[in-house]
């Protein structure tokens, strides 16, 4: 019978699959080497810490989007949540004199409130997409517009800079010599990597994204899981907003705007499929790092603002090709 021989090739395939998450590692190494030659500052601990800190907030969005993409859905509205959730939370706690809504909830509630608002936006997205069976792309596109409007409306487009202390803490604090936001993003990525690899619910995201009917027939509570993913996504976006607020010291009306394309770019060059069921959080993380390093390098080199997009886009295309060649499979 074929059983004994059939089992032997298992190990090489396993290795290959593991490596597929890491197709961007050569790109990162290349960037580090090239960068070190181009600018002496690039490879210093200070600069690399800066890159990580700068990418911390957006990386949480990439984490959220990767989870949503793996389960076969789509969320564009995350970018608007980044600004709107902290802004609304702040308006609910600060006095009218600071532009608040006059509701005057206790200031300690600002962070829970912010996360709650993010979760609520995710839940509403989930409701429309799952219960109403509307197109995820277009629902979240409409929500991107609406949520941003809910930021602009109450603040009248003004920047909020009289913020409760707690709102500023996380984005600015330094723990054990590293910015707190790096620790937070790192911990959440670690949790994401482990959760998707070892938790039942994590594995079920792959099943749902890979074949939703089969997942349902296998007894996975598809709707509940998807809903949870959307809520988690909204919450992570709100947390990203908190980190960004702390980093910038205020909440501008443009916070988060136009992030979503970069978020998708990071997730997809990191190997997460737009068709669902494929990709890993570790891969998405490498995508974030590539984008952060490229941006940092362009800044250090002082590439002219006019031509920056060309250089930047070209590097993304190259990263894509390298990960295509290293990954060996056609992308979608």
């Amino acid at each position: 019978m074929t059983t004994p021989t059939a089992l032997t090739p298992a190990v090489p395939r396993l290795r290959l699959a593991r490596f597929r998450d890491l197709t961007l590692v050569p790109v990162i190494v290349l960037l580090l080497i090239v960068g070190a030659f181009l600018d002496p500052v690039f490879l210093t601990a200070g600069n690399l810490t800066n890159v990580l800190q700068q990418q911390a907030a957006i990386s949480l969005l990439v984490l959220a989007e990767a989870l949503i993409l793996i389960s076969g859905k789509f969320d564009l509205s995350l970018e608007s949540t980044v600004g709107m959730a902290p802004a609304l939370a702040v308006l609910l706690v600060v006095p009218v004199s600071a532009g608040g809504l006059g509701i005057g909830l206790p200031a300690v509630l600002v962070i829970p409130l912010c996360l709650l608002i993010g979760a609520a936006i995710g839940a509403f997205n989930g409701f429309l997409i799952i219960k109403f069976q509307l197109s995820a792309f277009i629902v979240t596109l409409a929500m991107l517009i609406i949520v941003h409007g809910l930021h602009l409306g109450p603040t009248e487009g003004k920047t909020l800079f009289e913020l409760p202390e707690s709102m500023l803490y996380l984005g600015g604090a330094v723990w054990l010599g590293l910015p707190a936001s790096i620790w937070i993003a790192g911990a959440l990525f670690a949790a994401g990597i482990a959760g998707l690899a070892y938790l039942r619910v994590g594995r079920s995201l792959y099943a749902i994204g890979g074949n939703i009917d089969a997942a349902r027939a296998a007894g996975i509570r598809v709707d509940r899981v998807l809903w949870g993913v959307f809520i988690l996504g909204g919450t992570l976006a709100a947390l990203a907003g908190i980190l960004e607020t702390g980093r910038l010291g205020a909440i501008g009306s443009g916070m988060g705007v136009n992030w979503i394309f970069m978020v998708f770019a990071a997730a997809v060059i990191g190997g997460v499929s737009m068709d669902g069921g494929k990709g890993t959080i570790l891969g998405a993380l490498t995508g974030v790092l590539v984008i952060g390093l490229v941006q940092n390098l362009l800044t250090l080199q002082g590439v002219s603002g006019f031509w920056q997009p060309v250089v930047y886009g070209t590097i993304i295309l190259f990263a894509l090709m390298i990960s295509r060649i290293a990954g060996g499979k056609a992308q979608d």
Binding site: Y206, G210, D213, R216
Partner: protein, 482 residues
């Protein structure tokens, strides 16, 4: 020679088919039959070797029109485009000779074609709205309609019921009288004997033998396929126990079935038979929670199960093999191990975690128990041959030692040996005390049942005990005899 990464799908295999004959190609799941088909129809390039038609070398891979003039094919994987109408699917990329498409004429042609093949489908229906069986009929009608002198049929009957198979065979005989050459792939060896003149056997990617059908006894053919002496399957005798494990009372679902009463006892295998659209599949899907009945209740072990809730049904002790493995059976990108253990993931670790080691161990056992041909537990199911994928789906249904088993067309597309394994697994489960509902279009499968419920137009019309003859059962299914 054809390789897929580490897998060698064809290894120096060859086949030569004489003009005008109907040539069978048989072999176990994963023997490389479908791979050969895709090479013979110009979809894939062999790593080594060549294809010749009437002595001439095959056209270039890009020249699809030239290929299509030489060979038409019903592929094992569906090539139906769900969003298009049946008529358009039938005449895909040949909607018109001229410039503009005349839709009225196209519909008329489609109607005519469907009528010739007695396919009862509305040409304007969206192909995606058809059942598996109807889709298969559309594919067959399309392949036969090309007027090609060589036609390949890769397991065309795996999704058809008796009368439809008969109609297909009539058609094939007529084509052969017209001098058309055919290559026919099937796991039903009696079909091979019925319509083929010669047969080629593949095993483990290699050519084993080619012989005229008339000179080859059934047993020898099976032995050639499996590479060892294999006895025909013997259904076992059982005495069902008293306890009712699965029951349904007063189930009705508008447009599908009405007033169904069902009770399956521990250690009993109940068959569910019926011709196309009898409602048997819908009923089975209701039992496991994939559909919600309008009225009535389903109980497992005497406890009512929340209607329309698959997890609740599984938790209550059901195991389930869905009708269409591609649609509801497996997640192609996930590994054999994950697909096989998907519904028992909660038993493979604590606190919501899944232990990869335990999952792997479970999977290795499944692979051995059901003799699944795979590189190992980590291979994605999407890369397996059809029959092996079916085994993975089957393995999952058995993974939890279910009290009640609902299996729909479990042996669709699986080879003789595997079929025995799968039917044996159903019987083993019954012997352990489970009750099973077996829905099938294949009379052979139904032989293991202690009794067969026959449905007709959505109603259970007869309860046939063991010992029926084919003729009797078919008559009931066709509604000829009450």
């Amino acid at each position: 020679m054809k390789r897929f990464g580490p897998t060698t799908a064809l290894d120096g295999a060859g086949i030569s088919i004489a003009e005008g004959e109907t040539h069978a190609l048989v072999g176990r799941n994963g023997a490389g039959k479908s791979t050969l088909v895709s090479i013979l129809t110009g979809l894939q390039r062999p790593d080594e070797g060549e294809v010749r038609f009437s002595g001439e070398p095959a056209p270039a891979l890009g020249d699809r029109d030239a290929w299509r003039q030489r060979v038409a094919c019903v592929y094992q994987k569906s090539t139906i485009i769900p969003a298009l109408t049946v008529a358009e699917n039938l005449f895909l990329n040949r909607q018109t000779e001229g410039r503009l498409i005349n839709w009225r004429a196209l519909r008329a042609r489609a109607r005519e074609l469907l009528d010739t093949y007695e396919v009862d489908v509305d040409p304007q229906a969206l192909a995606g709205d058809l059942g598996v069986e109807q889709r298969q009929l559309v594919e067959i009608a399309r392949a036969l309609s090309f007027g090609a002198r060589f036609i390949i049929l890769d397991e065309p009957t795996a999704r058809l019921d008796g009368p439809a198979i008969e109609r297909l065979f009539d058609r094939m005989r007529a084509l052969r009288r017209q001098g058309v050459t055919m290559m026919y792939i099937s796991h039903h060896l009696d079909e091979v004997y019925e319509i083929c003149q010669s047969v080629t056997v593949f095993r483990d990617a290699r050519h084993i033998m080619t012989a005229p059908v008339a000179d080859l006894p059934h047993d020898e053919l099976v032995d050639a396929m499996t590479g060892e002496a294999t006895a025909a399957y013997q259904a076992r005798a059982r005495t069902p126990r008293e306890a009712v494990v699965l029951a349904a009372s007063g189930l009705s679902l508008a447009g599908r079935y009405q007033d169904v009463e069902l009770s399956v006892r521990s250690g009993e295998v109940v068959g569910l038979a019926g011709s196309g659209s009898s409602g048997k599949v819908s009923l089975a899907e209701t039992l496991v929670g994939l559909r919600r009945a309008d009225t009535g209740a389903v109980t497992v072990n005497g406890r009512a199960v929340r209607p329309g809730d698959v997890p609740a049904a599984l938790a209550a002790g059901l195991g389930f093999v869905p009708e269409d493995r591609h649609h509801q059976g497996f997640v192609p990108l996930l590994s054999v191990a994950e697909n096989g253990t998907m519904s028992i993931a909660h038993k493979l670790g604590r606190l919501g975690a899944v232990s990869p080691a335990r999952r792997r161990a479970r999977a290795v056992r499944m692979i051995q128990d059901l003799d699944i041909k795979t590189e190992g537990p980590d291979q994605p199911v999407g890369d397996l041959s059809g029959g092996n994928a079916q085994k993975v789906v089957f393995a999952r249904a058995l993974a939890d030692d279910p009290d009640a088993l609902v299996v729909i067309n479990p042996t669709a597309g699986v080879d003789v040996k595997a079929k025995q394994a799968l039917l044996g697994a159903v019987e083993d489960a019954a012997d352990r005390g489970a009750g099973a509902v077996l829905v099938s279009d294949e009379l052979d499968d139904l032989r293991i049942c202690d009794r067969v419920l026959v449905m007709f137009h959505g109603r259970v019309v007869k309860d046939v005990p063991r010992g029926w003859s084919d003729h009797e059962l078919v008559a009931v299914m066709e509604g000829i005899e009450e």
